[in-house]
Symmetry: C3
Subunit: 210 residues, 3 copies
Amino acid sequence: MKHLLIIGAGDLAETVFDLANRELGVGVAGFAVHAAHRSRSLVCGLPVVDLEGIEESHPPSAYDLFVAIGYKDGNRTRQRLVRWAEGLGYNLPALVSPDATIQAGDLASNVCVAAGAIVQPYAQIGTATLIRAGAIISHHGRIGEACYIGPGSLMGGRVDIGERVFIGLGSRIRDGIKITDDVMIAMSASVTKDIVNSGKYAGSPARKTA
Amino acid sequence: MKHLLIIGAGDLAETVFDLANRELGVGVAGFAVHAAHRSRSLVCGLPVVDLEGIEESHPPSAYDLFVAIGYKDGNRTRQRLVRWAEGLGYNLPALVSPDATIQAGDLASNVCVAAGAIVQPYAQIGTATLIRAGAIISHHGRIGEACYIGPGSLMGGRVDIGERVFIGLGSRIRDGIKITDDVMIAMSASVTKDIVNSGKYAGSPARKTA
Amino acid sequence: MKHLLIIGAGDLAETVFDLANRELGVGVAGFAVHAAHRSRSLVCGLPVVDLEGIEESHPPSAYDLFVAIGYKDGNRTRQRLVRWAEGLGYNLPALVSPDATIQAGDLASNVCVAAGAIVQPYAQIGTATLIRAGAIISHHGRIGEACYIGPGSLMGGRVDIGERVFIGLGSRIRDGIKITDDVMIAMSASVTKDIVNSGKYAGSPARKTA
């Protein structure tokens, strides 16, 4: 693998650095953020550069990228930047912890799977989706692009989840459930029926709250 | 291990195939279902044969069996077929994912333990019980015959669970709880008191619903 | 490592014995309890000696200690005995299952991490804290002294937990939450706000119950 430039400089970027550098032994060149958002010059001891101009400072011929931007804007910025970087010719590798268990086939670009997570047989994970520690994607499940699958969340068999969906810490999705795009499932929620309208859902069983 | 014939041809059978074949390197001969239920001729690229007559087509001298039938009939068919197959002289091996953690002694026949599951020290697991991904059976626990222990479910220390009990995805059983036979614990339930009557239980704390 | 003397003789001591002896290959000399509490002469086949007088029978020059006393008194006895033993010059090693994932730095004295547990990058764990199977301490989290982190419990990023806190089986703590000292979070609870008063909390969202 080429050296890696991480886009983002927050907590998620720090955990991606740890995964790439310590767990996987990938050389990390540094971090990149929009000039207007740059508040630190060093993260994890490495330089933070302006995102504007990385095509020259860190060209796709020499660097891979990973977009480590979280869910606070509904996972939109991460999805947009991954598409932008792919358009520029960058490779955005999947980063999988050696302590995760992947039983499905190849993972898409800019997917991150943290320690203890399990992706069961015949499951599919979309580009730019982040799977946090201990989450379980059961057999035949489908997770769309740019989702955030929170720590310890549980998805039963054959779930079908759209794009930019947030699955909160410790929430549970019943077997066979479909969830549309742009849904936020709160921490500890339990989803027992299909979700066909975008918005926020919470509780056990989960109900629409916003 | 001899070649394995899997009884069943649904999602569970496919996941058992993946466990046996890909994870454990066991040769799988195919699948067997009752002739009346046979809707596909191939599953995972292997033949589906009639269950009637396997004593001749796949005799116990040449084949092991694994009964991969789920919980929809209250775990009764799996228990019955395991007993029937044992009566015919078949060996029904325990199949344990290399990514599971078994800290107890030998496992009984036709037990399946998926990736990420943990069976702690001094625990006992009954014949024909299925333990799904990420489930935890804590120390000194006892799980009876033909149970289904759902993904990510958590059992505290010294739980004592009867026969044909279904433990739903993400449900939690307090330390020391006893549960009688033929109980169904719904997804996400939290069991805080002993259950002495068969039936369905849901909620947090769990209450009888049927 | 020197031979280990385990203080305590209950279920927790048995699981610590299994971790030290079977998982880690540490020689265990036996168990020690206050003479007034000694009800068995053998545990796991090894002698139970009086805690009074271990400085002579099992001096710090020849033995390490691990205090395997649970949470029933609010984690006070374990904390007190660890401090007492450190004062006598004993080494109290951290015991970490080979099936746990530690992504943070060195662990403090008398910490126990069971199989399947995950301690993420940049997290800190205090002396005498017990982390049970499958629990997840997310990135940048801080757990104080003498806590008990129950099986399958989930802590989001940057949680900050005080001393002698009990986190029940399957409970979940939101990102960034602070919990003061001497708090008991019941099984399956979901903590969504800071807890500034000691006491018992239960439910989803968690509320004070005692």
